[in-house]
Amino acid sequence: MVKSVGADQDIVREGSRPTECCLVVEGFACRYKVTPGGRRQIFSFHLAGDIPDLQSLHLKVMDHSLTTLTPSQLAFIPHGSLANLMRRCPRVADVMWRDTLIDAAVFREWMMGIGRRCAETRIAHVLCEILVRMSAVGLANGRACELPVTQTELGDALGLSTVHVNRSLQELRAKQLISLKGGFLTVLNWEGLKEAGEFDPTYLHLDNQVEERVA
């Protein structure tokens, strides 16, 4: 059961009690929360193959929201079916557990960025992360991939103003590390971007071959 959902549509809202988990089949999504003053923080970006709200299987009330960023194809898996599947196949249960652990590893890395890295490093880091993750699910073309996020969304994810994101992107461009055109990211110098972003993909716990594909 796959549903087509437009851009910027909430999939699950904070405070709700979902009865199913959402698998991103196609498109781009993010998890976020908004301060009482209306400032949004994006916690993570999600692409095809992710189940961003897997935790709702065990944590009954959503403590954050999940939204699409682009028109997406989403599949919904009832909690009952997931629980059954995990009981019948312990291997699947292991994989799901591993997924939530990596999820937490990504949060740690983002916390490092927001707390301790300068704007340019944060941006370079998240671009490296997106490219490697896209590559892992076969959605990158060498060192190029779709980057369907606006500068405001990048700012909301990295705790930066849109102007500063814009400025830092110009800087990465000027250094000939990346090119951005029509929602498409091309990394011109992978080693340089990695260095600029202090990016070490260990926290993604991917196969070594994935990074070799972009390197």
Partner: protein, 111 residues
């Protein structure tokens, strides 16, 4: 990264349906047009020119963003020298300068 939409924080509220609708219209390019501003940043003589621009509802919103960005720039770059001037110059959609926000950082040894 596509050139941008308004970053008015109020628009990210829980009842963000107005924002969503406007954003959707904008993506379809049928919404009301929003002025685009260009933000050049200056660090002493070092200039980063903005050729892409960002859309804001008006100069006030653009001004607030410039101020925030200036503070962020300061956080990233103010190490070392004893005097430094950081600035952001805003140009309008015809590329004419309309506003300059600057920050002067100075360190003096007192003995």
């Amino acid at each position: 990264v596509s050139p941008d939409r308004s970053d008015d924080p109020r628009e990210h509220g829980r009842a963000g349906d107005g924002r969503r609708l406007r954003e959707r219209l904008r993506r379809l390019r049928i919404g009301p047009s929003v002025p685009r501003f260009y933000f050049d940043s200056l660090d002493g003589d070092f200039v980063i020119q903005d050729d892409e621009g960002i859309e804001f509802d008006g100069l006030e919103a653009a001004r607030d963003q410039a101020a925030t960005a200036l503070a962020e720039m300061a956080k990233d770059v103010l190490r070392g020298p004893t005097r430094r001037e950081l600035a952001i110059e805003i140009r309008d959609q015809d590329r004419n300068p309309v506003l300059k926000a600057s920050l002067i950082f100075e360190v003096q040894r007192l003995r």
